[in-house]
Symmetry: C2
Subunit: 333 residues, 2 copies
């Protein structure tokens, strides 16, 4: 399999996005995010997405000319419109606004509307950790899961992340979607013809199923049953109602080339520890919990494994399949 | 069973707390919160807690003379110390500060430190919904659950809530702890001698168990497995590190009379929809999702059932056991 340096892979993705009509900033921030994922072992959100994004740009599902702009602002709060471009430039603006506002007002919430797939949630929080602040990233996504008690997809899998910087070393990074498993696991089971456990999916009629194909035609289930569905609803409400963004069931799937502009929403919450108990108290509390966690065999700090993979990728490059490499070269024109 | 009016039950709880040494405000806000729970069918967080709170006040685990005070403030952010009193007056101050600050700065985060049991999380958000704002309430609690991959209790069950007001009718209210089940379910199974499902608890050695008694000696498990444990960690970090509050494993159980001052933390996030896409956009988005949810048979709006119970309790009173009634009368002196 071809092995490319992080920079080579990034450049290939960037050129492919420009070729599909993305403006310079959009192509550049998007390529950054995709390579961030590949470097951390999250290939499903890496450069495999370039073809999908390119198709959306070419079909008008995403506007390559869009530039994010601020449409509302008060103190620590602001609303950014992504203008139906790819999500990354708008998310970058939102995060940079949120950091500046948290510095001034202690806490900031900056929402994004008219947006698109934001990829690995934790990517957006890198500057927040770098600024020594605590951050949360929230997004909805095209409907894939029912609400509690429901039978048809209404909510996205709603990926979220949190960052807690440490005085020394890498920040603690929590990052997950709120589905029990990723859709990819159903795809693999469907390919193998193997059954899936109860609790992963419902069939198209809304009944529990152990048939992966039936699950793919139906809906994914939230992690943690009713409680998880309630958490997914909470995220859906937070990112759509305040931003005026599309609900999951109003957005066409990211996995089809044709469809509407998803217009989904994101929200970034940033808090400056200096505005509350102060940075030294913050550091002491974090390290006390870290010490208790690492005293137990088998416990890994959140984000630790991905950070190690990223270091390795920077040093050794990233392997991608020959097929993907050729696809990217073709897309880059 | 004796049936008391909401007001009678509240007055009995209030007098018992005063008798145990709580100052007037502490007794009054605490009684409000306990009766809020009983009226909503949440007896485990209702006036059954009066005896526990009274014991903590009498044993010095909670300081009845404490008055909440603001110890840090910047823009939308503030930190309140509960001064090791019962949590309710400090939480009320935090929420009222957060509403005022969200009005001015769009978003507010007010944390509470040196705190105690905050009961039903949603109680604290009633004024937030009343002010037409979106709110989140977060708390940690004495350690009951392991972190992901761990074998011993490090994290609280970390009850959280969210409120989303509606233009007409009752707000949407999401309210849950992050354990798979409440400890009470293990207690019932232990009493009956019936087994518990895998995924509820670990024994004292950190091994999965279906023995309820072994589970009670060990740890509760988070809802949703690893993802739920990560969410509980996120809440634990948010409410302790910014506030300088005690971690779950530093706090003695609420269920014992002797022990330390728990000094745990809470955080209240309040957002004014008017600072982002605006109230009319907010209302339209909420009602669009509500309409999609209620179009499905079997789907209940979050908070709906509890609100109906509360209306019934206001009209018809609340039944408590003869034993509890006598206990409250004795505690009221």
């Amino acid at each position: 399999m071809p092995r490319l340096s992080v920079e080579q892979l990034r450049e290939l993705a960037r050129r492919a996005l420009v070729h599909a009509g993305a403006n310079a900033t959009m192509a550049s921030t998007t390529a950054d995010a995709l390579v961030y994922a590949d470097a951390r072992g999250l290939a499903s959100h890496g450069v495999t997405r370039v073809a999908q994004y390119a198709a959306h740009l070419l079909n008008g599902r995403a506007d390559g000319k869009a530039e994010p702009r601020m449409v509302a602002s008060r103190g620590g709060a602001a609303l950014i419109s992504a203008g139906s471009g790819l999500a990354y430039p708008a998310c970058a603006l939102a995060v940079s606004e949120a950091i500046a506002r948290a510095r001034e007002f202690g806490v900031a919430l900056v929402s994004v509307t008219d947006s698109h797939h934001y990829g690995v949630a934790a990517f957006h929080l890198v500057p927040v950790g770098g600024a020594g602040m605590v951050g949360l990233a929230l997004s909805n996504s095209p409907a894939a899961m029912p609400v509690a008690g429901g039978k048809r997809p209404l909510l996205g899998t709603n990926p979220i992340a949190a960052v807690f910087p440490r005085e020394h070393g890498f920040p603690l990074v929590i990052d997950m979607s709120l589905s029990e498993v990723a859709r990819g696991k159903l795809m693999m089971a469907a390919k193998d013809g193997s059954p899936i456990p109860h609790g992963w999916a419902l069939d198209a009629d809304g009944n529990p199923t152990t048939d992966a194909r039936a699950g793919l035609d139906g809906s994914m289930l939230a992690m943690g049953g009713t409680k998880g569905a309630m958490l997914a609803l909470m995220v859906e409400l937070l990112v759509t109602s305040l931003a005026g963004a599309a609900l999951g069931f109003e957005a066409s799937s990211f996995f089809v080339d044709e469809g509407n502009r998803p217009r989904i929403g994101q929200a970034f919450l940033v808090i400056d520890p200096g505005a509350l108990a102060g940075r030294s108290v913050y550091d002491e509390r974090i390290e006390t919990l870290v010490a208790a966690m690492t005293a137990e065999a088998g416990v890994r700090l959140p984000g630790e494994r991905r950070e190690a993979l990223a270091q390795k990728a920077i040093a050794e490059g990233i392997e991608i399949s020959k097929q993907l490499h050729e696809q990217l070269i073709a897309l880059a024109g």
